[in-house]
Symmetry: C2
Subunit: 429 residues, 2 copies
């Protein structure tokens, strides 16, 4: 956790601690900023400096480089000290799960590694402590592509615990890859929310230039301390500049770009709210804080799979998977269609008590199996169309519905009932 | 193909033919418009009238309803007569495949059925004959969800035949559900295009109010007669009003809404061109008409599947499918990731000579397996990242690449070479 070698010695000589404002002179250039902590994965000869612009740079010290202390002003919040408790402010719980928002760049290789301490995360954004009484802990430190149902369950319980012990809101720093799945899972698992549950990520790690971590975390905190929201949301950049953040409903959000900072988009609705500076503006109806207590319904049946239809999809592949699951979400084309050949596979699966739900791979718009004969044949085969529900949300919800009951009619009723804003009221044809 | 019963008798009495302008009086209301042909699937007691607004209505005649001939002005282009040959205009070939653009609404049930005659399609848009010398034929009449590799192959050959016998362009009316797959397939199969190949669909059938069929067909025709384009494109509405159409590159287009008329979007680039009235404006670099002849490379290996990764994806399911194919396209999360558990399955598949390609389910943005350790592990396991290629395009291209060669290095080279605008130049890391 500490700098060593030439950097370590330079810092000791200059009586500089992590968090201090310093000046580094190197090759006729002088850099001023706050000394960031050394990361396990970084080259110990690289000093990380957070510039006043918010950008971080890595500096490789040479023998004639000079380090000078400017001020100790950030020292009070430095890492490796315990975080202050400030009961005059609202308490916000930070439940770390890993991901880019808690990751560090290895300056030797340019690669990104997950960090292991919530304090490091919070330290990198000391402004958080001006807004709330931070209570941070790390639940796990994994890339979100490795999240499993058991992680969602643990997260749901920990979230309920925090809210039930007085937190004004819960912020979940999370890898962006599967953040939309997690927000959907928490949306179904948690009832009677007494405050916002905010999944937040970043597309550039917090120690990198152009990181979106700080602004996203501050916006997430605003949602927790300044609003009466009682829903699970995802907060991320609303545009590619640093103009504003958007809060998306947890069941209606999807990562729609692999790298842009405004990668997350609400699908089939507007973002719930816009967070611009200190101002939060709601754009859609939302659920208010409940009186509580928060209850957890975290049972899930993992025997569910999701399949995207495409021309040439082999019914044999569908059958193989159908034989191994209790539920399938089909992402059909257009209004939810599959080929005639695949309809027979759906019929076969339904006969074997597999619940087959239908969504659209278009992502936007609703399925409607009443317009074309293909759709009507799918309904006759036993497929259940899920309106405008996202395929990913449908996948999570079907695991959850199958966890609550094994009665087919009851499962269908759950799937077609709007529980957490995941489905628009059914349209009559 | 003819009206019968009360409608048929009323039309005979009034000496009215399909295509004539008529007036229908019914229950104190009078409707004026052009008599549309009867469709096999429609109730014979329903008369279809195209109003001057372009909207079609269905009228159920009663015993006291009256039909009156206004003028014979549209009769020359009526259905059941042969289409005129006008060698003073450029010839455009229409190769019908089916879909909504060639579909009719059954007014009893509200359902949509495919039609079986190219003349019907062209008749519904007589303005086409003002723009070009129409040569129309129906290759097949199916919903596009039932398109298979063999249909693409037949279509590629027919398209090359038309261009090589002098057509200025080829227009392929097509169901919208899988039109993006077909346009990608034709993009890889056809070389040396002497003119545009335009896949065109509609989200509302041509005999329905608010149909986008007419405008899309006219815009497609403009591309064929007024430009020097030598690519496969998709032409559809550019917005939800009737303001303009967009021409999208065949390998970069995806249906992004289940029902809106502007459902098709270019992904990771702007639309190639905008067609507004008679004006075509190109917005991106494009391939020009080749001197020809057009050649066809239509071999494909159908033993390819596409899988979308999600949390909880069972490696066992991956393994089952991998055991049945020669190639797999993985649509990973974010930059192209899958879970650690699934990386072992990729390694196993590659060892068994399955070509595993990686794209992103975000759809927008490129994959990059060099940023996180997950990605690097996937590369070590043998996965091949495909830049900013759409998963659907990658699926089609992998079938095509495996159809050209079985040499692994050669396949990888083909997959990473930009053949039809499907992949942006590789970014260095």
């Amino acid at each position: 956790m500490r700098y060593s070698g030439l950097v370590g010695q330079s810092l000791v000589n200059a009586e500089v601690d992590v968090g201090d404002e310093i000046e580094v002179s190197k090759c006729d250039e002088t850099y001023r900023g706050v000394l960031m902590p050394h990361h396990d994965f970084s080259d110990p000869a690289i000093l990380t400096l957070k510039l006043s612009s918010g950008y971080n740079i890595g500096l490789k010290l040479e023998k004639d480089s000079k380090v000078r202390l400017v001020s100790k002003k950030h020292a009070k919040t430095a890492v490796e000290r315990s975080m202050p408790v400030d009961t005059s402010k609202k308490r916000v719980a930070f439940l770390g799960t890993g991901g880019t928002i808690a990751s560090y760049v290895d300056y030797r290789t340019g690669a990104v590694h997950p960090a292991k301490s919530a304090e490091e995360l919070v330290f990198s954004v000391p402004e958080l402590m001006d807004l709330c009484d931070v209570k941070a802990r790390v639940l796990y430190s994994i890339y979100s592509e490795n999240m499993e149902v058991s992680h969602w369950q643990e997260l749901a319980k920990a979230t309920a615990d925090e809210l039930n012990s007085g937190a004004s809101g819960v912020i979940i720093p999370h890898g962006t890859d599967t953040m939309g799945f997690t927000s959907a899972a928490l949306s179904f698992m948690l009832r009677g929310l007494t405050g916002p549950v905010v999944c937040v990520g970043s597309q550039r790690s917090s120690d990198r230039p152009s990181s979106d971590a700080t602004m996203n975390l501050l916006a997430a905190t605003r949602i927790c301390v300044d609003t009466d929201l009682g829903e699970v949301v995802v907060v991320m950049h609303g545009d590619i500049s640093d103009n504003f953040c958007s809060a998306h409903r947890g069941t209606k959000v999807r990562k729609m770009h692999s790298s842009r900072r405004d990668a997350f988009k609400s699908v089939n609705m507007s973002p719930l709210a816009r967070i611009e500076g200190t101002k939060v503006t709601f754009a859609e109806e939302y659920a208010k804080r409940n009186k509580g207590p928060v209850t957890v319904f975290d049972k899930m049946n993992k025997r569910v799979s999701m399949l995207h239809f495409y021309p040439g999809f082999e019914p044999e592949h569908f059958d193989m998977i159908a034989g191994n699951v209790d539920g399938m979400v089909v992402a059909g084309t257009g209004l939810g269609h599959v080929s005639d050949r695949l309809i027979e596979s759906i019929r076969g699966a339904v006969k074997k008590d597999v619940f087959v739900a239908v969504t659209t791979q278009c992502l936007q718009g609703a399925v409607n199996l009443n317009v074309y004969s293909t759709g009507r044949d799918m309904i006759t085969a036993g497929a259940v169309p899920l309106g405008d529900m996202l395929p990913e949300t449908a996948y999570v919800k079907l695991m959850w519905a199958l966890g609550q009951t094994s009665d087919r009619e009851e499962i269908e009723k759950i799937m077609l009932t709007n529980i957490a804003g995941e489905i628009a009221p059914r349209r009559s044809v």
